[in-house]
Symmetry: C2
Subunit: 463 residues, 2 copies
């Protein structure tokens, strides 16, 4: 596709995998059989714990921050920010100042790229086990001496045995929960034989996209890597209806879009330049309205989340146990793209959204993303999304945020079809983009937030 850094030949191979049909190594039945086996094989018992009983963690006397005694992992600190309206806001924030690797290994079987996906348990997952990328590695996994063992397959992503890098871009994570967190999203190809561990299986992109429709199955780390995989307009896919036909045309850079790519970049420059939010980390002791109880850091009834402690007992072949803090949202999130065919080409309505923990504060987000960020204006299209009838909800699935940091962090992801009745003219913080225009931005950091990236991956499941 014109305009991409990714070579056209590579995008064609991804597209083939996304339309592979029966050319997959496993059938979906095989997958589900394997998945049920994995589910039986192990489980986590997760129990609430007093903060004082977190092993290796302590609340600092001076700052009241929750830190690990090693100085590593992450810490719970305070965030103070001023929004455009001039209001001052405070909240706790997770500070994990390191870039990890989220990596999917791919390999051709019978000429079709397959993704090595992992069945991985995380303590915060509502259902413990979710489908995950090949590797989720923190920096300490690959840069320093570390007590734990090296993650399986990490050698394909780092160091002398690394495979051919197909996708490699730093992307942000939740800007209301994390302080300026980035992970490195990678797809690496190997041609050699790869020993298959029992917790892993090879799936085509089409199968992976399809599994995005299953509630709480595909984890956040898998979704963000998938969103960075470029695909072309698929050939030979029959559109079931006019919406799907418009969607397929939305992958075609030759078809007319409301805005040129350069206009999209200019719109985003303007949104960033006009942003007058300022955020900085402060000691937790300085943030008003939040206090440590015996079992949680709480900001009262209105707060969107709390910090809790848990003991995790992993009952697998060996029994292991550890304790850690988790961020527990107090309700489900909502992330929805409004999607409108314009001149026969589907356009997504992208929002320039303020999140105080993002490095540039502003990134591109779904049309509606809830809960609202304190200090931001009203969410113009929230009522429309909430009241959309079932046949307009083209995608509608509850998915989990990262279970290693968030306890039962669930977001409802939706793609809402709108028609002629929805105006093409939108408020200045919104911009219409085709699917291929959004994909182009994902070769770079600092454009799409993690909820928008999840939704882009979900859009690929609608062919």
């Amino acid at each position: 596709m014109a305009g991409r850094a990714a070579p056209a030949e590579l995008v064609a191979r991804f597209t083939l995998s996304a339309t592979a049909g029966a050319r997959s190594l496993l059938t979906l039945n095989d997958f589900h059989t394997w998945w049920e086996g994995r589910s039986r094989e192990g489980r986590f018992a997760v129990d609430r714990l007093a903060i004082a009983d977190l092993e290796g963690w302590r609340i600092r006397d001076d700052t009241h921050d929750l830190v690990h005694e090693s100085g590593r992992f992450f810490s719970i600190e305070g965030l103070r920010y001023r929004s455009d309206s001039g209001g001052e806001h405070v909240q706790p924030i997770i500070n994990q100042p390191e870039v990890g690797i989220l990596g999917i290994l791919v390999k051709e079987f019978d000429g079709v790229l397959h993704c090595l996906m992992q069945a991985k348990m995380e303590p915060g997952n509502v259902n413990t086990l979710q489908l995950s990328p090949t590797v989720q590695a923190t920096r300490s996994n690959f840069t320093r001496v570390h007590r734990g063992k090296t993650p399986t397959y990490l050698e394909y992503f780092h160091g002398p045995r690394r495979g051919r890098v197909l996708v490699d871009v730093l992307q942000s994570e939740q800007g209301v929960w994390f302080w300026q967190k980035f992970n490195r999203n990678m797809v690496v190809e190997v041609t050699e034989d790869v020993p298959l561990h029992e917790d892993y299986c090879w799936l085509t992109l089409e199968q992976v996209h399809g599994l995005l429709k299953v509630e709480n199955l595909m984890n956040m780390d898998a979704r963000t890597v998938l969103s960075c995989v470029p695909v072309d307009r698929p050939a030979g896919v029959a559109a079931a209806d006019s919406f799907t036909a418009a969607l397929l045309r939305s992958y075609d850079p030759a078809l007319p879009a409301v805005h040129q790519q350069s206009e999209i970049l200019s719109w985003f420059s303007e949104r960033k330049a006009q942003c007058d939010w300022h955020a900085r980390r402060v000691p937790l002791a300085e943030i008003e309205g939040w206090k440590w109880g015996s079992h949680e850091l709480s900001g009262g009834d209105e707060a969107a989340f709390r910090i809790v402690g848990v003991r995790v007992k992993a009952v697998t072949r060996e029994v292991t146990s550890w304790t850690q803090p988790l961020l527990e949202p107090t309700g489900h999130g909502l992330a929805a793209f409004v999607a409108k065919p314009i001149d026969g080409v589907l356009h997504l309505l992208v929002q320039a959204r303020h999140e105080p923990g993002l490095k540039n504060i502003v990134e591109m987000a779904p049309t509606v993303q809830l809960p609202r960020v304190a200090g931001s204006g009203p969410a113009p299209f929230a009522d429309l999304v909430r009241s959309a009838p079932a046949h307009r909800r083209r995608f509608d699935t509850l998915l989990s945020e990262e279970g290693g940091r968030f306890l039962n962090g669930l977001t409802r992801y939706q793609v809402i079809e709108v028609g002629e009745e929805f105006p093409e003219r939108v408020p200045p913080e919104f911009c219409w983009m085709t699917v291929q225009q959004v994909m182009r931005l994902l070769e770079h950091s600092h454009y799409l937030n993690i909820e928008a990236r999840t939704l882009l991956a979900c859009v690929h499941s609608l062919w």
Copy 2:
């Protein structure tokens, strides 16, 4: 050009202006006559001043930061950072948390785009008057009630009368002097008549590029905007020698480069992911080794700069006067690209450089950039650049950094030709790129630092 967001038709028009020859509105003689007139018309008297005598500025009792009583403009604060080696470093830093506009207005005369350039005096300029973009506006110029008058021509860049936006991207500024400073680099086209103020003149891109070779003439703000203007391989330009022939081929995306664009992005992701520098603002009172004297903030003999106060008397038609702090570097900087023809295509050797004030710490920089940043490793190619014979110094001009913030901030900009003797294999913090590959990155923020951008603009003067 494939891979750009900018429409091909637009790039062709910029390229025409960069090869306009005699199709310019003014001859270079006309320009110099106008310039001499402007130089006679006004001057600045800049005198050192005791810090206590800066009007409207004060050193805060608690933090020792130097701030303006309005809370606006900028402040001098402290910066503390840890480098990869684990060393802790401190220094003062300018904090100006707002995005201004650096804008060049362009208009076609006789079918050729011309840039509206400004003769502008700045107190820190070694020669007071330099050639500047049409507009240098701070945020307070266009968002709030402000005592001063609105900058001339600002209405073409902001608000309802804005022209057609051709270039619009936020770019970083000096990461050793500024805390996470960005300005919005814009080129805007108008077709209507533009009243010509006496401090302005219309020049083709070719004329502007040529004037980059004049010592301390083209100011930093003009250079960064020019670097973001995409141009194609010029047709019909005869190469004077094999270096120039290789340079012209370096604008052609169809010719072979050492790396694909996707490999360049991956290399940069790796450099950012491996960076373990952490920087934060702290009160000046907390940084060891620096103290306020009566006339300066000084870090001792080894420090790379000091903060001083000046009184500026502008002797123009009206006499105006003000006082302000400036950052005064203690020596000249050096910024040099090593340039090597590889398979007949010129490649620039780009460095992933750490600067503690940059938002991502790491940006792409010239091969050699001095002074070194405290905490960074040795500069591998510094000796080679310093000892390059005259005929290998394809570009070699002393240019000024922003005269509104820096007092006599001078950097020697060089493009150093190397041949077969220079190895193609380079250390991991370096990457070979063609000119067109570097230009593509400039559609986005967070890639090239300001010294690399100046040099890219200078490369365009070598056709």
